[in-house]
Symmetry: C2
Subunit: 327 residues, 2 copies
Amino acid sequence: MTHEIAVIPGDGIGQEVTPAAVEVLEAIDAVDFDFIEGEAGDAVKAETGEALPEETRELAADADATLFGAAGETAAEVILPLRQVVGSFANVRPARSYPGLDAVQPDTDIVFIRENTEGVYKGIESEISEGVTTCTRVITEDASEKIAEYGFSYAKQNGYDDVTIAHKANVMRTTDGLFLGAASAVGDDRGASYDTALMDALAMHLVMNPQDYGVVICPNLAGDMLSDLAAGLVGGLGLLPSANIGEDNALFEPVHGSAPDIAGEGIANPSAMILSAAMLLDHLGYDEQGDAVRTAVETVLDSGPRTPDLGGDASTDAVTAAVIDEL
Amino acid sequence: MTHEIAVIPGDGIGQEVTPAAVEVLEAIDAVDFDFIEGEAGDAVKAETGEALPEETRELAADADATLFGAAGETAAEVILPLRQVVGSFANVRPARSYPGLDAVQPDTDIVFIRENTEGVYKGIESEISEGVTTCTRVITEDASEKIAEYGFSYAKQNGYDDVTIAHKANVMRTTDGLFLGAASAVGDDRGASYDTALMDALAMHLVMNPQDYGVVICPNLAGDMLSDLAAGLVGGLGLLPSANIGEDNALFEPVHGSAPDIAGEGIANPSAMILSAAMLLDHLGYDEQGDAVRTAVETVLDSGPRTPDLGGDASTDAVTAAVIDEL
Ligand SMILES: CC(C)[C@H](C(=O)O)[C@@H](O)C(=O)O
Ligand SMILES: CC(C)[C@H](C(=O)O)[C@@H](O)C(=O)O
């Protein structure tokens, strides 16, 4: 069985790390892929006026899964509609520290399960009179239950004992009250143990005691901020993969952006993108191969060549070759 | 001239740290205070049905300034209306690390200037159909300009070179677009230098490189989360004071809550509350006395008795006495 994968490198270092991930996937003998490339981002917008051309949307819609690199200024115009195209309801963001790498908190292993369809991301905004604007934050019971089901299942399948539901229900009593109530009910129905945490206090505790946390189920924008916070704890965005999971489609992308400051130099760290490809393997049912890729990346991070962001002077290609060697 | 100060200890350790701050203020010979106590919080709600009785509101409204300790479950019912009573538009939250104290990032000195009247705190929520709820986030040009004026002035008066405007205008184009535009225009009009930062990326950078930041001007909820994040960097909430600044009234409170786990034992760290009293002194025009209190707290933190949260075994009273000794 051949899996059709849409490959959208995008802008900046997306053009460098995406081919690296494709090479790694090609090196996995047990799985057959058909890679089809599509355009998105600043460059294609400059040419055609559209950051996400219709062909690219269709490509992602029809593929078995998508690998997305990064976009520059147009990031929101590209990634938000792409998440919709694949029907993503869960944005899965593991943040772990690796032995041997500098980290603010070297003992971190947290997976953020971020609701990915609503909250302030619904795009319902208006200027209701001059100088007075509103954004309508939407929280539904269905989406809250769905993300909680996903989060509790994820914790169980991946052996995380601590589940935390993040919210701000003391201020947003109705919306986050609903999120908290619906997510807690899912935990209760499963007989699962979990904690709930105000998102502000949680930000503090994550900084001080990340080892106390496992899976964190969050509303959309809170998940955006808290997962970036955790990226800071483990050494920055260069190591963080993510998955956008839909009912029968999915998109995988590094948490980092297009990094225009180092783009074109061939020195971008491909780890986050390769780890995103590992999540793609898991998603297609190849957990063993996903684990093998993660182990290879870990080995290289521990004792192989390193790109400049990690204090080394290796190129993207050298790191990618080292990962493939380890497979 | 005698200054009338409303004193609202509230619940839990609020009952222990608030008297400590009052003692410190009483020890300042150059300034005359008249302290009038009011009730608020869980305990008074249990008795009377109201977490914030009308007398307490009036007390805070009529006083020259208010000292507030903490409230328990009713925190939002107490502090949000109290902020309105004093007309607070700016919530000022300094987060600094102290020499000799353990901190995740020992080189932190950041002041969050949090917009304090709007955003999701407007309280405009509804269940628009079963299981579908909305919260209307409001951002106005006036409030955005006002907080930016306050932030840039604060940076200048207090010698901070780095000013950062936090926003999420790539997603909330209209509301945070307005916040970002209005705040940037204030900076431009003043010929001030400043940066702008997406709040998610900022969360990461604050964790990794807090020394790069000085004053951070934020929308309401972002300021809530980012300032708690920074509390985690400097060793927890026990050290963070805050001011809620209105046009001609103000309220001062520690960032920490009522800490029911240690309440009643006489071991709560009074530093955050005493530092809040120092901000009250600044606000009334007694900068010299405010500085003296800060220096005394620093000296005690460095080499005086410490409460258990900082690894010592001193009581609240012993720390308070040591601070007064240093004055
Ligand atoms: C680019 C932006 C729209 C996006 C988001 O807010 O989701 C990004 O920050 C992310 O986390 O992938
Ligand atoms: C208690 C709560 C309403 C409050 C807030 O969200 O402002 C608290 O978190 C704070 O930061 O003072």
